[in-house]
């Protein structure tokens, strides 16, 4: 079978999984978790082959660490799958119930999107996480992992799929693994079948996918986040927040890359430098007038360092800060530090980002911290889902209209009229 035929089959499989009971979907998740814990040596064995190949290919330590599985990591994956089973059902939720006329009743009900494609790099646990989210939300899934994790992905896919099928054969073809690099291009062209593409990996991977498919893509290529230290900021509160937003985990998308300082707070620069001793500061001219640091170049305002580097700029007004953020930011997460509520409200209204924080760390922008139980990813798009995306982001809705012989001609020709009464 060609990839196109297999994808068409996965699409049809999604139309079946869409109709499965919550109980069956949850039992499948429990069976998937069991397959993982029952086959730890087998998984470790496959993972070892990947590690051996990776060492031969000279993969860096950081990547090796992401690739390596342990018994504890596998048990944790299994617990993750079980915790998805425990989440509330995202399907069958009614978001509208309206009488259009006597006996003519409209409902809007949440349903799965259909067939989701996920292209991910190295981490094999991403496969398990995304598969469990798709089973929970009734979607079919096509996965393409990185070649470094070929054997790990293959065994994880096999076990998860086997677990699902043990519960019901109606999961057939709903979890598909694609292995070769050439197939990525083919997949990206199958917009006829794939309803949503989720890239998980480097900015370069995400950008590549966004630029090369007609399939809607959910994700973010950049995370250029800002903190703005307002004229009315409280120093003792603000300093730890700046540090937390930059340093708590600098390699991730919701860490800040730029600090904007109101001109009346430049006196805080030496203390900022002190709490960020391990961070390379790149300042504009005014900043360098107050502390000694590297000079920021134009491209610094558009750079995601993902590292212990922070660009720092002095602004004359909050409006200037907002303008800078809306121009240079990536609409991900931005923060205002101020004690004035009306200024915070203005900032939160005018900054055009998915998450706008007031006096708390940008690092809170995350599905688990927001209480979604699971995270599909973070989206900087402005369509469908924005910011941290939970299970809801894997659903859409359908309208069901029930009548008793109701004709449009009667309404068009004025014999009847609509009541439009919410029920």
């Amino acid at each position: 079978m060609t990839l196109k035929e297999r994808t068409a089959e996965a699409k049809r499989a999604g139309q079946i999984t869409a109709t499965l009971d919550e109980k069956i979907r949850n039992r499948a998740l429990e069976a998937m978790a069991r397959e993982l814990t029952d086959n730890i040596p087998l998984i470790l064995d496959h993972n070892q082959r990947d590690l051996d190949n990776a060492r031969k290919d000279g993969l860096g330590q950081a990547l090796l660490k992401r690739l390596a599985l342990t018994e504890e990591k596998i048990r944790e994956m299994a617990r993750g799958v079980e915790s998805v089973a425990a989440l509330p059902d995202p399907l069958g939720r009614r978001s509208l119930h309206r009488e259009l006329d006597e006996g003519l009743e409209l409902e809007r009900i949440s349903v799965p999107i259909g067939l989701v494609g996920v292209i991910f790099e190295s981490r094999p646990d991403a496969l398990v996480q995304i598969a469990s989210l798709c089973v929970k939300s009734g979607n079919a899934l096509i996965l393409k992992g990185g070649k470094e994790a070929l054997n790990s992905n293959r065994i994880l896919h096999e076990l998860l799929y086997r677990g699902m099928l043990k519960v019901s054969e109606r999961f057939e073809h709903s979890l598909m693994l694609v292995e070769t690099r050439e197939e990525i291009g083919e997949l990206l062209a199958l917009d006829e079948y794939i309803d949503l593409m989720i890239p998980r990996g480097s900015n370069a991977l995400v950008r590549y996918i966004m630029d090369n498919t007609q399939i809607p893509v959910m994700g973010h290529a950049d995370g250029i986040c800002h903190a703005y230290l307002d004229k009315y900021a409280e120093p003792e509160k603000s300093l730890p927040l700046i540090r937390d937003s930059k340093c708590q985990y600098p390699a991730v998308c919701n860490a800040i890359e730029t600090l904007l300082i109101h001109r009346d707070r430049v006196d805080m620069l030496p203390r900022i430098q002190e709490i960020l001793q391990d961070v390379e500061l790149r300042g504009d001219e005014t900043v360098r007038h107050h502390i000694s640091c590297t000079a920021a170049a134009d491209e610094d305002w558009d750079t995601e360092y993902n590292d212990l580097i922070l660009s720092v700029k002095v602004v004359d007004t909050m409006e200037e800060a907002i303008g800078h953020i809306n121009r240079h930011g990536s609409g991900h997460t931005d923060l205002i530090l101020t004690e004035k509520e009306h200024r915070a409200a203005r900032f939160q209204a005018h900054v055009d980002s998915a998450s706008v924080m007031w006096n708390c760390s940008t690092r809170f922008a995350d599905g688990f911290r927001y209480g979604f139980g699971a995270e599909v990813g973070i989206s900087t798009g402005k369509i469908h889902a924005r910011g941290p995306v939970g299970l809801e982001g894997l659903t859409i809705y359908k309208y069901r209209l029930k009548g008793n012989g109701h004709l449009v001609a009667d309404y068009a020709e004025g014999r009847k009229s609509f009541t439009h009464k919410d029920l």
Copy 2:
């Protein structure tokens, strides 16, 4: 200024209109309506130029009719704008309010998408309708109309924009008109600035736009809708519904193109032919065994006639009908005719379409009939908005998080834990 620069300006304008009060947006709509009714002769004069050119170019009668404005049509447009002003505010709605921990409060608030692009053909009233929906929802808008309506679009744009600016100069640059055909290609490449593209026009136009841009597109290229006459259908109820779904307005997307008949109901074929006397039936072999009609070819099952033509097929089971619809349909609107509730429920669950009807006409699938007050369009996509799309479809949300010095390090290192309490 280049088109790119103008578009960047419109994008920034959208960040301003996003923050405007409901009152100002509604006053702008009222001012826009007034400009229309105050300038009827001027509009008619411009429209006449388009009509003269169109006649010179030999435009068909149907297109001329769509292009022609009258005093009454202009007054109706103005009333349409006023009725949008009267709709509930789609912005500032809170869809989530959660305490993450003491003093750390999360809100999810509806906001405009940003900058919307609309490419439309002939009908100048589309310009007025979509502009009013965008003003109401705080979005900036770039419009590209058909060249037949160049003069009409120009004056309508000028009047609407003038009306907005009379209310507040903060609407500056938020309504932009693009006039040349070459600029369509340029617009489609500006995914950096345009957040959503809405094509309104022929299937060919919609398909072209979907295939040639990275910007998310909302709309539908095809409307291949089905009625399925079940074994348990009630003939006296079903016959008028088949006629209404096909004939009430055959040129539109929610009219049916195919009728599927359960084998046990082939006895109804002569009566179906009778009520559809003015319709060309194209039947499969079984159908032609019972009535005399044209033979359906393979491509008939994938054809949107938009005309008084109906393909008819006999199926052995409801499952076969569902399979046919999910394979050949466009996910727009489909109908089951049956008296059995459990069969209707099964059909409505398994048919993967935006609107699934039971014993009522497919023609009800429409924003006004669904009670949305205004319609942006009908979407057959499965991301963001599906089916008839109202003002809600022009909004997305942002997260606002308010804290009091809350650091992620405290949670990551176990000193604090989340409460995740909905408020």
